[in-house]
Amino acid sequence: MKCKECQVENIEGALFCEECGARLEVKPDMAEIVSEGGGAPLVLQSSEGNTLAIPEKEEVMIGREDPISEVFPDVDLTSLGGLEKGVSRKHAIIHRVGVDYVVEDMGSTNGTYINKKRIQPHARQVIKPGDEIKFGKLSLSVKAA
């Protein structure tokens, strides 16, 4: 059984990864939610109601624009207070894997959180409608477009 976070093989039946401690067993109710969300394009919405589209690309960089260092992320969180809220220039990537949207933190300073759980740098996690995703202290809701 491969750990989804760190890719290390664990024995069948193990509940948590020996290497990184990530949960290996999927609760039955979580499995159902994943299949419901499949296929619909997702957007990110701020608490003020601003909607950010996620471009239709295999890899979408989330971060903060910095022309001096020539960093131009696909989704720029500057206007949502990204600087004050600790968003890194190259904070995270959203991968399209089949119908799924998969988030990967790029070693950001203040971390990426999904439903209040911090995800490990470079470990990947699926997001779905109803999730809360936080880049540093900037909180966004995941919604179906």
């Binding site: 024995i11 069948e12 039946g13 509940l15 990184c20 999927v26 609760k27 759980k117 995800i119 490990q120």
Partner: protein, 421 residues
Amino acid sequence: MTNELVVRCIMSKDIVPQSEAEQAIYALVDIKPKSRMGTGMMPANVSLVLDRSGSMEGEKLENMKEAAGYVVDHLSDTDFVSITIFDDQVESLIPSQVAQKRDEIKKMLASVIARGGTQIADGLKEGMNELQKGYSKDRINRLLLLTDGKTWDDEELCLRLAEEAGKNGIAITGMGIGDEWNEKLLLQLAEKSGGDSHWIQNPISILDAFKQEVEGVQSVAATNLKVMGRLDRGVKPVRVFSMVPMIANVSSKVLHDTTITADLGSLDGKKGQLLLIEMRFPAQKIGKYRVGQLEVSYDIPAQGISGHKIRVDMSITVSADIAATTKVNAEVMNLVEKVSAFKLQTRALSYAEAGNIAEATRKLEAAATVLLDLGEDELAATAEREILSLKKTGTLTTAGSKKLEYGTRKLTQGWTGAVKK
């Protein structure tokens, strides 16, 4: 014959999928007294071993005297007590005696002044000698050690003494005040003797720690608690963790081939005892199987009970029904997750000690994620701060590593069987 204890054995899954290879399964063994027993049912034999080194001067020493006085006041007239004080010399302040001359004992305590360095082994040895004078297997034999500093060149001897204590049913509780003492040593003393350890952050908390210990001695519901597990053919035990008074990996002490033999000492009537057993279940066809049998034995000397046994079977079903095989018991899951946090923290600190900063950081990050998932935000924040300290200085802070060592070990404190969240 009725049982005075209740033993529950809960499997992580009652139904597992059919597999070509062996798979991991977990069993939680929960042992509690059937009903609330009266306090102070078992006579006690308590030895206080107290650091009187120069650094204890002032608030620490005064609070220590008050706490020691509390112990003397709250033991019964037939309990044995002794007080040993040490710096780089040792003195038997109160030789082993029944706890009756309370005013005299407290007067002697009041006369103690702080001086000298720290040699814990001599104090431990003398404390154990005094304990032997009042020793009986029908008593709760406990040694309480209090220190604020690192011992000088005698750690190996301390560990040997703790091992000897454990073999004789003497549990050592090691308590450290402040930040400048060796938590590894005190935790190892606890592990080897089947005892406990506390980090006392402020001198005013010394009294609370001693109160807790007295309460623990007076709450003992059974002694000579043993768990023997015989596993059926093909089932292999891999790891065993005890959870009370703190999470400890007892695998090397209790695993022998396909049997589990755990000597758990006394059973705290309020906290009970929990064992988590990780096993490997072999490839099997569809059907119901016995995994093994557990036998819990205990004494209750006050009731004339000796070697009473309770047997519990562990079983599992192999099924093709995939939906049924995904159901995991929430209680077991929660405890396995806590053990996971403890394991990650232990490995992180080992890597840090060995100078492998990259691995230490990775393990601390993983521990922080697990701790957040458990709702332990403060401990997770401590892990994050230690990551920063590692990146900046290449070392952990003394307070931070203590907080992680004790915090993760005590994740099961206050366990009632209810899952947080």
